[in-house]
């Protein structure tokens, strides 16, 4: 089971919320000096995603009245090309055998050496930036590759922080708080563990060049 049947009346890591803004910012180049004239160097877009996921660890929620969120977005249509994943896209959240990571015809197309190399890796994560949220009746359905689905995903690269005076420590949060009304889904302990494991792996990777220095 991916979502908790009975939600707690506090915010938890991985919760799905409604009603938060997402700031999408772009710059043409770093602003190293204060520009003398008006310069069109940056753009700020404010979006209201339908759903957002809480990425602050449970134990840190409420500190500084800030919370880290990540917008839920529709999944990549290419994910549906892999028949190993199509029945349950949340497989992308867990480690898998190298053969499962590719559509069978793509696996067959790999050279023997490449297959061997990948098999030697053993089980591993795929699509490290992404975590899939399972389908749920509370989610809006959308069409993708001639199907209607209710899967959503978060992209760890899009995590951002937002401040709201209503965000409090769990012991100070009341069930009637508007913040709690904005919560629509809570992950089960197992699913929350999968999110924690994958995001920890995402941030915990040691680059090859640093590994050499450590030895």
């Amino acid at each position: 089971m991916f979502y908790q049947k009975e939600m707690e009346k506090i915010l938890r890591f991985g919760d799905v919320l409604r009603g938060y803004i997402f700031i999408n910012t772009t710059i043409k180049k770093p602003i190293l000096d204060i520009p003398k004239e008006k310069e069109d160097n940056y753009k700020i877009y404010v979006e209201i995603p339908k759903y957002s996921a809480v990425l602050t660890p449970c134990c840190s929620i409420g500190e500084g009245k800030k919370i880290t969120l990540c917008p839920l977005e529709i999944v990549k249509s290419d994910f549906l090309k892999n028949p190993n994943w199509i029945k349950d896209l949340t497989k992308i959240n867990r480690e898998m055998e190298p053969e499962e990571a590719l559509p069978p015809e793509k696996w067959k197309d790999l050279k023997e050496d490449e297959q061997k190399k990948r098999k030697e890796e053993g089980r591993g994560y795929v699509e490290l930036d992404y975590f899939i949220y399972d389908e749920n009746e509370l989610f809006d359905e959308y069409p993708i590759k001639d199907k209607n689905i209710k899967y959503y995903m978060i992209d760890f690269k899009k995590a951002y922080s937002i401040k709201c005076d209503m965000i409090k420590r769990p012991e100070k949060t009341k069930p009637e708080d508007v913040i709690i009304k904005s919560k629509i889904l809570q992950l089960t302990i197992e699913a929350r563990g999968e999110l924690r494991d994958k995001i920890a792996y995402y941030y915990g990777r040691v680059p090859e060049e640093d590994k050499v220095l450590e030895d």
């Binding site: 990549k76 249509s77 290419d78 480690e95 890796e121 994560y125 920890a200 792996y201 990777r205």
Partner: protein, 82 residues
Amino acid sequence: MSFSEEGHSHESLKDQGTGSHEKFEDYKIIVYPFGKYEIKIRLTPSNEFLGVEEIKINKDFLSFKQKITKKGFHDVSKFYKK
């Protein structure tokens, strides 16, 4: 003659395994962690050393960094671009 008088009392039967009449050894085995090894030691019931049963690698000796670098991931992003 009663059942217990025939030698079938609880005291006379308690150490006999059903069917096998197995003889139970009078020792216990404890696992002692030592650095990156786990040593199984045989002791008497009063904790006197009898011998070493087994030495094996403690699989938890890896640091978190070593654990995560040990795990691989499959770079398949070029197959799932959009």
